[in-house]
């Protein structure tokens, strides 16, 4: 019933629109017949000129007001050593482009307003000016050069090799979750082979490799404050992307082509929550906690967490492919590590079966075909 009503209203509105259009059309035909000579209708010219002046002005004021009002919200809080430099560079670059945006758009709309059609007025014949062209080729080139070199500087810092003392963690993306693997006490990852993958051995670990014995897996990424961490990233099925917005880092996870990135966390999760208490944006309730019992309602700073965001389309569950990232101080981290059980210990029976299977597979297809990917440092 509702649908029918809505449709009939829509049809009525359309019919009315058409009638109004027809009538105004006929009227304007009559009118133009009476005043010949002026081929192009310029009767609304001033209207457009004024709008070109007013609307962009109003829009710009609104955008600035809104942006500043919630300025504590836009950038995700940063917690990496290079994050401060990133944010600074980004702000400078944004100030520059906002100035460019304002100056050029202002000129465009002001000219559009000022030089609107006037009867018996003739435009200035002004086909070129070499000097001007050279100036506005060189000036943007210089501004860009400055931006490029500052950006390049940062890029080299972010992408250079990880420091020797970096904690290494393997992060594997699959439809639709992330799995982390830590190398354990020996600091060495055991090898893997995608053909060994199954429901239990999700990472395709090679149990004939002794280095695998103390490797442990986690569903949350636990990091240490102040210590460089290097992520060794791979994907099992399709391309995913490890995005760590709070650490200003991002790297695709590509099947068959492992990638890597590193950074240094500067604040533990707990410290970050405390810090966010002073940001009014984070005192507001987290919308996901407001529906149930008011007692369960939590402020955004309370529910804050570092996260891995999957940032490359990977299928049905792309939007929910999240991994919690926890930053601890060194003591807490060591306590956490001590509690972790290696995969091999957790799944003893499975592993002893798997060793047989894997040995057989190696023999059957020849060593060359089932070459493990070594994960040594």
């Amino acid at each position: 019933m509702n649908g029918l009503l809505l449709t009939s209203i829509a049809v009525l509105v359309l019919v009315m629109f058409f009638i109004v259009f027809r009538m105004s059309n006929l009227v304007s035909i009559l009118r133009t017949k009476s005043k010949k000579g002026e081929e192009i209708d310029v009767s609304t010219n001033n209207f457009h000129a004024y709008l070109f002046l007013l609307l962009p002005l109003a829009g710009t004021i609104w955008a600035f007001w809104y942006g500043i009002k919630h300025s504590g919200l836009w950038w995700q809080p940063d917690a990496a050593i290079h994050g401060a430099e990133y944010d600074w560079l980004s702000k400078i670059a944004h100030v520059i482009i906002i100035l460019m945006f304002l100056v050029t758009n202002a000129a465009l709309f002001y000219f559009a307003y000022k030089y609107r059609y006037k009867r018996n007025h003739k435009a200035t014949f002004y086909p070129d000016n070499m000097k001007l062209e050279v100036v506005w080729t060189i000036v943007p080139a210089i501004i860009l050069a400055v931006l490029v070199f500052t950006g390049w500087n940062l890029w080299r810092k972010v992408t250079k090799d990880a420091p020797e003392n970096a904690i290494q963690i393997e992060v594997v993306g699959k439809q639709f979750n992330w799995i982390a693997r830590y190398p354990g006490k020996d600091g060495k990852f055991g090898g893997y082979n995608f053909r060994y993958t199954d429901d239990v051995n999700e990472l395709g670990l090679d149990f004939t490799d002794k280095n695998v014995n103390d490797d442990f897996q986690a569903t949350e990424l636990v990091l240490v404050k102040g210590k460089p961490v290097q992520l060794k990233i791979r994907a099992r099925d399709v391309i995913h992307s490890v995005s760590l917005p709070h650490f200003r880092q991002k790297m695709d996870a590509v099947p068959g082509q492992p990638t890597t990135m590193w950074f240094i966390p500067t604040k533990t999760t707990q410290e970050m929550r405390e810090e966010l208490k002073s940001n009014p944006e984070y005192l507001k309730p987290d919308p996901s906690t407001t529906k149930g019992d008011p007692k369960d309602m939590k402020a955004r700073w309370e529910t804050f967490d570092y996260e891995i965001v999957c940032q490359e389309i990977c299928g049905r569950g792309h939007f929910s492919m999240r991994m919690r990232v926890i930053v601890l101080d060194e003591k807490e981290y060591e306590a956490w590590v001590a509690k972790q059980e290696p995969f091999v210990v957790k799944n003893k029976e499975y592993v002893s079966e798997a060793i047989k299977r894997q040995t057989k597979m190696k023999q059957a297809s020849g060593q060359a075909l089932v070459e493990n990917t070594s994960m040594s440092n």
Binding site: T44, W75, Q76, V148, G151, G204, G256, V309, Q311
Partner: protein, 643 residues
Amino acid sequence: MASAVAHAHDVHTHEEHHEHHHETFLTKYVFSTDHKTIAKQFLVTGILWAFVGGLLSILFRLKLGFPEMDYTWLKPLLGKWVTGEAGQGQLDPEFYLALVTMHGTIMVFFVLTAGLSGTFSNFLIPLQIGARDMASGFLNMLSYWFFFASSVIMAASFFLDGGPAAGGWVVYPPLSALPQALKGSGSGMTYWLVSMTLFIISSLLGGINYITTVINLRTKGMTFSRLPLTIWAFFVTAIIGLLSFPVLFSAALLLVFDRSLGTSFYLSDIYVAGQALDHTGGSAILYQHLFWFLGHPEVYIVLLPALGITSEIIATNARKPIFGYKAMVGSILFIGILSFIVWAHHMFVTGMDPFLGSIFMFLTLIIAVPSAVKAFNYITTLWRGNIRYTPAMLFSIGLVSLFISGGVTGIILGNNALDIYLHDTYYVVAHFHLVMGSASFFGMMAGVYHWFPKMFGRMMDEKLGYIHFWLTFIGVYLVFFPMHFIGIAGFPRRYYEFSAYAAFRDEVYLNLNQFISVAAVITFGAQLIFGFNFFYSMWRGRKATQNPWNSNTLEWTAPLEPGHGNWPGQIPFVYRWAYDYSKPNAEKDGFTDFIPQNVPYSMTPHSNLPHENEMIALEKEEMLPHDTTLELAELAKKKEVTA
């Protein structure tokens, strides 16, 4: 899905309509080799696709703005893609991805490549360079019908059981290669690949024709330095397309092999749906290099024609020569060349060598310079003009604004260090929708309003045009500007929902997304006004005059509704550039504020610049003896009228 039915149906009725309208044989019209008819075919198909593409975006915008909306009412349209019981219908997450994918594919290729280049290159190249038709009318016809076939296949993919392709418009493998990973990568992806292959053929046939025609069929006196900027833009666009589309074809071909023949060009070490696949040794990144080798030039394939159209319209309606013609041509050429060596800036975070990333950042940021030059030149063209606001002019000024607003964020994204955080966020969505999507769309609209009288001999309704412009202009900014905010907050693209992440749970973000969706619906609604205006004016619009905008280019010297061959008598000769607007002393020569390209310098002694006076001797030797009565007589008549 029903939208696709409607589309297929509309295309069909469209053919029938012309059959009545022209009262000739169906074949003579449908399989026409006349460039004007083919241009109109491209235009109407493009417009229909634009409505389909726009509607798809509304469907997913509703989900983003109103995550808890009940989709049951859309069940008649979407069928099984709405899941859940009545009262709590949900959009299927995979269909959401299909919507995003098809919106991108349709808008980039079918609307802004075929609909824009196909229409205006076809329509304007022969008319503006003074040619009877394209170099090969037959290939030109094939170009449209390959596009049509491609359209039909793409539309048909909506009705497949697994839905259309859903891996994003870039269709990166392995996702697009593995039906186990995504339903849309089954037959939907096969249809996509077949359709795109036909589309590439269509583009190449068109491109070869445009290039050949511009090089070989210019009328006497139409030197390259006198070409209107529209033609320069179409010419360079066609060259870019000719060089880059084959690379997309090869990328697609290898993907077909991987999907169907078990090769491993892109696939390696994959365990999916409980099974380890046999593929080893391929590189998923190879596909991205091949894809973006087309994908980036494609941005300029879409944008350059729009910029060309804008140059022409701004000069005409500001009543001023375009400022810095040579710089404009130079920047088109420079952009064309650079567009081939910046592709990997789409891949800064794929794990490629950081050194390579640095190189591509340098190259990418260089391209900002000619783009800036273009923007400055447009603005200076307005300076001290006498601007008439036709709907086409409004859209052209809108284009310049969007081009700037979307362009400046390219400086951020092209900077690889800054790109790391913003890559694949809504910041990117905002950037390319403004600079490429909306700007090109505005160029297309400007072109339609401006050349409608030449196409159909009638005017479009200006008032509706004004309403259409203002709603669209405001709407586009309201839709895409707030995306910068949520982009800076790190919101990822192609997300069905954001509620899983603590980082994205804030009522401000919710409000902004809602705001964007409402603005999108209104903007889409405004396009219906255009649709009505377009089809209504085609038959019932006010009769146009021969040169309604007092424009200089050659197409306006052709009869109101040019027949086959464009000019009944001799093709006009060209004696000057296309931008002699408001030339000083033109009144003394009997002209108002414009002197068309086919007026010899010998007829305008008062307004000639010194070096132009020197051309008169040359004219007398080379041109005038061949130039017969018709045109001179017409000029004489015009003189009488103005005097």
